[in-house]
Amino acid sequence: MNSRLYQFILNKQHHAYRHRVDWDLAGEYSAAGLSPVERMADRFERLCKEEKAVILEGEQIVFLRTVENLPAIFTDAEWEHFRATYYIHELGFMSNLSPNYYDTIAVGLLAKRETADEDGKRAIDNIIALSDKYRNEAKRQGRDDLVEILTQVPRYKARNFREALQFFRIIHYALWLEGNYHNTIGRFDKYMYPYLKADMEQGLYTRETALELLEDFFLSFNKDSDIYVGVQQGDNGQSMMLGGVDEDGNDVFNLLSELCMQASCNNKMIDPKINLRVSKNTPPERYTLATHLTRAGLGFPQYSNDDVVIPALEKLGYEHKDAVNYVTAACWEFIIPNVGADVDNIAAMSYPKAVDTALHNDLVRCGTYEEFFACVCDEIKKESDKACSGLDNLWFVPSPFMNVLMDCDIYTGGKYNNFGVHGTGIATAADSLAAIKKYVFEEGSVGKEELIRAVDENFENTPELLHKLRFEAPKLGNNDDFVDSIATELLDTFAACLAGKVNCRGGIFRAGTGSAMYYLWHANEIGASPDGRRAKEPFGTNYSVSLFAKVKGPVSVIASMTKQHFENAINGGPLTLEFHQSIFADEDGVEKVGRLVKTFIDRGGHQLQLNTVNLERMLDAQKHPEDHRQLVVRIWGWSAYFVELDKEYQDHVIARQAYTV
């Protein structure tokens, strides 16, 4: 590793090259009556001109953001108009796409220019002009290596591994500069390996020198990422997918996949976010290898199971050749590279809200649990309908360069235009229903009104009932069919409620197991819940057990959370397991955690994310943030530096279950 450069970036010294621009583009464009696509093209051109070529000492992969902000291109009034006319998703710009890096790097931008529209041509010309600025700077610094590379790419195809990496960096950088966000990386080991392989066959790299270059390349994802803030710092969608099968069912995992995990492990930085596709055929050693990365404490890799995801996507109508190519969007949503335009996080449905409504409106008149559960299902249907409504006339600000990189007309959609809906708080809902089933209907030990009153009073006057519901009631995560089967029914119900719905782009709605930030937002929509959760306490993230549930251990959690029918709910959203650092103390522990992951996959789990946590360190970091700048934690679908998070997110991480040895 180039440790000087690494320290330079770590200490944010490169921020000294940054400046802000205060252009009133929105006003100017509005007065001139420019169309949205013209505005995107023009801003991009101006930014490319404004960008300075900065080459840091020893840098092998160049391109650094020097303009810190993207000036607005629409006035507030114009946004208001858009929001009134269209459905605007999040920020309104294109996000969570997986563009075709592979073809672009293989042919060069000039070749892409031939088939691009006028705005695309203009974007390409600007990128080439900016990279020429870098070439001149390289010349000035006597960096002949870079002069040679930048003479070739991005104009022409990459001829070797380093050119391919540099080419990728330029494309990815340009996507961000254009104003797209959550720009994912895709199946990096699949499309990049041919370059590395060819170079190694020629003896240009050893394993070690290739790793060193890759570490510099990985570092490049962290140079500007603080500019790309999502809900919190770190939520930037730079997800990389490794492994998995190809179109013919062959295993893609290769030397580059291995080196990527190694580079991530060595860099210990939150980008890129590593995902690993596995299946029943994955050899045990690979899990051990991946667990070494887990041990590094970055919250990577996140696993997804080809045996479950591919058939489930096919069942939803994805062609086999596309389904086998799936990657993850920013967090864990499964998307298709090059041709997919799914909006995988368009809405969310809260299970506990459905239970809460049924509790208040229907419980008293229900004679049996089945009757009550049917009411909950009705509420899930209503909540699902609500989540899917108002999503008409979806519109994104057109991005000319993104359009060049996609193998479809991304302005109007892609080959796939499905909408993903998260399902929040499944454990809170399943635990609540289990408590109602057991105590209200089976034992009769808790009265219906008594329960409703206690929930409404946030259990203030009923400590004994709170204790029973919170600490003695059956909880999801204990391999107990009594409650696990309720989770299965809830997920099936949610999936069934979305089935058959058609969205405004002609696509379908996909049910998911993720929560994103709704584990906090949805938790605040309701008060306390019948599982003994107090008002304001958050739900578990994604597909996880409740925060305070006493569980037997990770083995039982895996058993409980692999029983459901993911083939009906494959928008994505992992089970999260937290392990205390001490479990990885020796090689033996690492191998055993890898075997636990294998168990999860072999049992048909869909997605899994492991965290290494050190409670003591997090508590100390809240007190002395300056001592723990590099402490990384996983939030809902991305990793972040602990000290850069708002306290509510810090506290949630602290409250999660950790399995110690």
Binding site: E464, H467, R470, N479, V555, S556, A559, K592, V661
Partner: protein
């Protein structure tokens, strides 16, 4: 028959080969001053009070009608913060074996086996032997102080696949002073293990100033001979449990 345990731990990675499930037997004849599982000392169920979380709300002081609360003089089903937990559960060997087999079923080929720890599992020999018979066919391991009558020791280790045995102090006097019992029986059992037992490992907890002295370690090294020997770092976090049990921790200072 009925035995008393205080915990079942899934995914025990340091208690023998493979991903294991460890059962902790309650009750131990030794009183090691550094014991990191003080809830395993007494065979009786005990209340653990997490004082730090206690709101002094008085909920547990109200009279209740639960049979199981009687010995403790408090209601254990009332705490909104779950500060009161009973450690110690009486369970039949059959019921326990059924429960344990669940993790084996979940893990399938990845399952390593069961480990009996404590407390001292040899302090409930009949229960242990019954449980072992119920779990026949699985890889079985014990974590023991080795303090048991020779015939008990022999009959148990003869049916085990792996033994993890502590040798804490080689000197008899020091052993008596720090663990409360003589080590003569332990060392005799050690020889039995080495001569005719299954594969095993000897462990020595490194307690600062007590077991980690050069003299002690040299003497143990000689006793260990050809056996595998692991030295286990001292776990200072164990002190917290003493307070919960209303006990004094010798090593607090």
């Amino acid at each position: 028959m009925i035995g008393t345990i205080f915990d079942i731990k899934e995914m025990a990675v340091h208690d023998g080969p493979g991903i294991r499930t460890t059962v902790f037997f309650k009750g131990c004849p030794l009183r090691c001053k550094w014991c990191h599982n003080p809830e395993g000392l007494s065979v009786k169920p005990q209340v653990m009070w997490k004082k730090a979380r206690c709101l002094n709300c008085g909920s547990c002081r109200k009279a209740c009608e639960h049979e199981e609360c009687r010995p403790f003089g408090r209601c254990i089903h009332a705490c909104p913060e779950n500060c009161l937990e009973i450690t110690g559960r009486e369970v039949s060997s059959r019921e326990l074996a059924a429960e344990l087999r669940q993790s084996a079923e979940i893990l399938g080929d990845e399952f390593g086996g069961f480990t009996f720890s404590g407390g001292e599992p040899l302090a409930q020999p009949e229960f242990l032997l019954e449980l072992m018979a119920e779990l026949q066919g699985f890889h079985l391991c014990i974590e023991t102080s080795g303090y048991a009558q020779a015939d008990v020791f022999r009959s148990v280790i003869g049916k085990l696949d792996f033994v993890i045995m502590d040798v804490k102090l080689a000197d008899t006097e020091l052993h008596r002073a720090y663990t409360g019992v003589d080590n003569g029986q332990i060392l005799e059992n050690l020889r039995v293990l080495q001569q005719s037992g299954p594969p095993h490992v000897i462990r020595t907890p490194l307690i600062p100033g007590i077991t980690d002295t050069g003299e002690n370690l040299n003497a143990i090294e000689e006793l260990v001979g050809e056996s595998v020997w692991e030295k286990i770092p001292f776990n200072a976090a164990a002190g917290a449990k003493y307070e919960m049990l209303g006990m004094e921790w010798f090593l607090k200072k």
